[in-house]
Amino acid sequence: MISPVLRNLARQRVRSALTILGIAIGMMALVVVGALSQQLARIVQRSETLQGVVLAFVQQSAVARLKTRRHELETRLLHTEGVVKVVPEVVLPFDFGPGEPDRFGPPRLIFGLPDVGSQLLRDTLVMRAGSGDWRKEARSVGVGSDFANSEDAGVGSIISLYGSSYSVGAVYDQSFTIFDAGVIVPLHEGQRMLRQALPANLTPATKAADLATDFILVLRKGTDPALVAGRVNFIEGLHASDPRRLNAGLEATSRIFRSIVFGAALIALIIGSLSIVNTMTTAVRERTREIGIRKAIGATDGAIVAEVLLESAVVGGLGGLAGLAAALIFCAAFNAHTASQGSLQLFYVTPGLALGAFLFSVALGAVSGLPPAWTAARLNPTEALRRL
């Protein structure tokens, strides 16, 4: 059934190839933008999962870090309605090199977390290599996948953080969260680095163990995080983000990307459609006598429509496959490049996206074939047979 269609396409190789190329370009654009949208959706979804575990982050102002003892703040947070656990953390920028501004994605950070903090993230951070006991080793750290790629670091590698050397004890799988580009160190190491970063005149008066830049709050089941965030914001020196607002922002970005996908699909639809309509109209005109012959030997109008539609659907499908293949190669190459830099991987081609794009191209081909198919079907057999 397909062989005669392919033979027909081969009769006008250049025209068929150009039509298929036109659809392939449109489909490639659709798949690439779709992959970008899918990746964003995955990041949003992982972020929501992470919030489901952690529930709320509270930032401490720089002044508060110095004026207020960390334990006092922890106590006040613990007495806030809805909070069942308060976990302090230290977040610092990685001591990056000159190439850092060229990276995609979130900044590379150092997370100083206590044991309990790591346990909260155990569903988010899955170990790819190394030992789960790395925290028990002195001067041992865990690193995210993007960080490991950017620094070409594996288990046992030595990395330098704020002038001190650390051994990589674990490398985590990609989690599509901020931790991918980060280094996780025990809390006391983070506090030591933070103290080191303070101005020299403040350093003598500040104990490292009192320092924290943020707090992770674990909330009572059923508590509205937005309400807790509101309550926390009444505590001087603390700022809590409303996770719903954060999610709304991410979802708004996601919506924009979906709109871009829709726009790309529309462009692909118009370009691909017009090129198929043009090709099939020309093909029908060239094959007028052939259509007359088919009618003479018994083809109904429906059979003629089906034959033209099958051919245009095959053109669409071939274009779709070519575009999909090109998009897969492009996304894989781009992702490999950004991964080697330790940057965020931008594209995620899901099986659903690939299948959807292919089916869309077939449907696009079939729909575009309708006008010429209808023209062919309505041809008068005797008129058609007069054509040479």
Binding site: R7, N8, G298, D301, A303
Partner: protein, 222 residues
């Protein structure tokens, strides 16, 4: 039996291009006949063939096949009639270029609603009957003119039609191949009892037919 009664066909009526192709044509061709239609170019031979084969409808008059008037049929019914009851053979062979010889012969069977396997099996047998089973996988462009016309004859017989309408079937062939094609048509007429109506310029071929219908300026003159 095929009959035409007072058939008139006017092309492009009411326009400056109006042509009266057939004028009050009446004829009868009995079942199983090996008939010829002869006449000069423009005498209306091909137009008559298209009306007998339900490819077109007369401006006036009626064409009946086995007592059924074709003008009463819908487009779909006419397509079904052409698929099951009529076989066409054209001067220029007119095989579908993207289909192999076997697929070309099987095509009317598919249009008549036969299953693919059945249509291909019948096509294979017909190709064997015209001596071309070894060429079944070849495309029309890979066949000689005589071979293409034999494939076209096999295609015309695919659904065991009541009538085969052949429009100058030997017009583009050398005399030896033309003789071979005429012999083949005679054989199928004799062995299968299928009515043959052959439009021809060749008087030698016409002499082998009966009845011979002579057209001149759109009218039957003999």
């Amino acid at each position: 039996m095929i009959a035409a009664k007072h058939v008139m066909k006017v092309h492009a009526p009411g326009t400056p291009l109006e042509v009266r192709a057939l004028n009050d044509v009446s004829l009868e061709i009995g079942a199983g006949s090996f008939a010829a239609v002869i006449g000069e170019s423009g005498s209306g031979k091909t137009t008559l063939l298209t009306l007998l084969g339900a490819l077109d409808t007369p401006t006036a008059g009626a064409v009946t096949v086995n007592g059924t008037e074709l003008a009463a049929k819908s487009r779909r019914e006419l397509a079904a009639f052409r698929a099951r009851s009529v076989g066409f053979v054209f001067q220029g062979f007119d095989l579908i270029p993207s289909l192999t010889a076997l697929e070309n012969v099987a095509l009317p069977g598919r249009y008549a609603g036969r299953a693919a396997g059945e249509a291909l099996a019948r096509a294979q047998a017909l190709l064997a009957d015209v001596g071309l089973q070894h060429r079944s996988r070849h495309l029309p462009g890979q066949l000689s003119g005589g071979e293409q016309q034999r494939v076209a004859i096999a295609r015309a017989l695919a659904n065991e039609p009541l009538v085969v309408l052949a429009d100058e079937p030997t017009g583009e062939l050398d005399s030896k191949t033309a003789e071979h094609i005429m012999t083949l048509l005679e054989r199928f007429n004799r062995e299968r009892g299928v009515t043959m109506v052959i439009v021809t310029h060749n008087h030698d071929h016409a002499r082998r037919c009966s009845p011979v219908i002579v057209l001149k300026d759109g009218s039957v003159v003999a």
